[in-house]
């Protein structure tokens, strides 16, 4: 019993190291969580890169099947733009190439560089939604009061499972000046 205070201290410190470890675990979750989502394909933010038209049209057009595509947009906090999808909904045949556009206008009094981040619902359709041209591939600069039509050319792949009849493509427009991190996030796409 004489060495009890010492073993108390030892056990106490051992438990404290669990506490420190769990605090670190919380922070380790920041990269691990993103990694986990990437590996499992959950929560992939519609990051389909540019594909060539020939890659996705070689299977031909499925004229018997129609899929409804809805277009949507959101402004992230702090961006004084007006964004309107020129086409809000479209019936498409998988395998066929379509063009749509978004009308944007800078309502602020200074030039703004913005980046659009796509998101597709249901997320399972993401890998079947192919863009051959998209304004979301690069940053968009608008002078004060300037407006522009931003184009998007896409093909819905014939591999889209039969159970999905409606796909929603939503863009969130963000101001890139927020800080450097957005540039990193964007260049990763």
């Amino acid at each position: 019993m004489s060495n009890q205070p010492k073993s108390n201290r030892k056990l106490g410190l051992g438990l404290a190291s669990i506490v420190v470890g769990m605090f670190g675990f919380g922070f380790a979750m920041v990269p691990l969580y993103g990694l986990f989502c990437d590996i499992t394909g959950i929560n992939r933010a519609g990051g389909t890169g540019r594909v060539a038209v020939s890659d996705v049209t070689m299977l031909g057009v499925d004229h018997d099947r129609k899929v409804r595509v809805d277009f949507d947009s959101t402004l992230n906090a702090g961006l004084n733009w007006e964004v309107t999808p020129q086409t809000t909904t479209l019936e498409v045949h998988p395998g066929k190439v379509y063009d749509v556009s978004y009308r944007v206008r800078n309502n602020s009094d200074h030039a703004v560089v913005a980046q659009a981040i796509p998101s597709i619902t249901p997320w399972q359709a993401t890998e079947h939604f192919n863009k051959t041209e998209c304004f979301c591939f690069e940053q968009q600069t608008l002078q004060p009061g300037e407006s522009a039509d931003l184009g998007l050319r896409f093909v819905l792949s014939r591999t889209l499972p039969e159970k999905y009849n409606t796909v929603t493509l939503s863009y969130t427009f963000m101001d890139t000046n927020r800080d450097k991190m957005i540039r990193n996030a964007v260049s990763a796409r």
Binding site: N8, L11, G12, V19, M22, N43, A185
Partner: protein
Amino acid sequence: MSTEAIHADHDHHHAPSGIGRWLFSTNHKDIGTMYLIFSLVMLFLGGASAMMLRAELFTPGLQILDPDTYNNLLTNHALIMVFGVVMPAAAGMANWMIPMMIGAPDMALPRLNNLSFWILPFAAIMLIISMIAPYFPGGGTPINTGWTLYPPLSVQVGMGMDFAIFTVHLLGISSILAAINIITTIVNMRAPGMTYFKLPLFVWSWLLTALLLIMIMPVLAGGVTMLLFDRHFGTAFFDAAGGGDPVLFQHLFWFFGHPEVYVLLLPSIGILGMVVPTFSRKPLFAYKPLVYSMMMLTALGMVVWAHHQYTVGMSEAVTTYFMIGTILISIPVGYMLFSFIFTMWRGAMTFETPMLFAVAIVLMFSFAGVTGVMLAVVPADLQYHDTYFVVAHFHYALIPGSLFGIYAGVFYWLPKWTGHMYNETHGKIFFWWTTISFNLTFFVQHFSGLAGMPRRIVDYSPIFAEFNMISSIGAFSFGASHLLFLYIIIKTVKGGEKASDKPWEGAQVGTPGLEWTLPSPPPFHSFTTPPAIK
């Protein structure tokens, strides 16, 4: 049973007096008392905020609170009740009872014990500042996020949030220190012969609770630290525009938040494990499996957190996993309840106030279990999510599951703590008053929730008017019943019938019962020589 009578004259050496006795206390009983008093004060603060919420909801429309103030009070009600009432009360009981139950002279790390208590009052002051700061110039908007503190809203609200974040840090440090102390005490300070499977259930429940606390509190601390960085240092942990993810906070929060439910529940299960055998005069039914089921609950509780986030857009496979895991939890919990029922079965039962609470808990907590399984089912939860059904569910889980368990413990151990018996008639009046008004308050909320009334709103559709009026009347009565509780406690502390060493006839059934070998109230130092275990 051995009777090394510990004489009161043992504590003639340095039994401190005056304010120093409390400020610099390293005595587990004094610190336990301070925890319990702190918790009682916070109970009335948290209760007062709940009364204001129910007064606002008495009729549809805006009467006494503006929406931001309403949500501010709502956030504070939850934070006070969870961190200020239930956790300190359970910690106070642990301080008081664990050394006496395991035959130790005191807690293993007494100075740490002093620190972990004295952080609390400052955390409480910080929490109160977080609530009133927004009403001063430059304070920004009140904390209108609810206790979950989800970003992006929590990044945008005023400086009250910074105080709330520091409150969470302080409370986290306090409970981590207490948890380390309790584990060390239980592992190192047991009297010779007090093996793990002789430990009273209350000690087991606290061993597991403390393990949970050191696993989860640091994760919450990490989460709110990131929130603080997002608010002030330009990081973007939870800001999508900076490459972060607001859903990450939800995962961090609920990784803490779900096991936290068991942190609140387990000490009360431990108290039930003492109270039910005492008043059934039978040993606890299937003690060992009950301990195993508590371990299973602890382990499962760590890995089912995302059932709070079914609606954030997780994949089917992930939600299915969390659904099955959550439903599995009903097995150990159901086991515990059956164990208590079988302890009562054919026992020579009497219904003193602690036992009345115990029986009521088994009934009402089962009800929360049933609604819990309903909420665990993904397609159903998509309907119930963020409605009053959830409010009803977790109040049924937390009020009977933890608060009433603590009341049972208070009535059970009050004679031991004070040396006086409480007035049994008053105790019974309090029991009936508080349980009936509790059910009146929360039962109807199941109906308004199923009918679609969302939670965390200051105003609601007139179709829910009747339910809310009943609920508010119940709540006022529930609140008022606690004045009687306060009266009973003060009266018992001041005097009353002298309690014997073992005030309950069946108190020692099936456990070593060391705490009952000490006089009531126990001497300043409990066991100076280790007691022998039968």
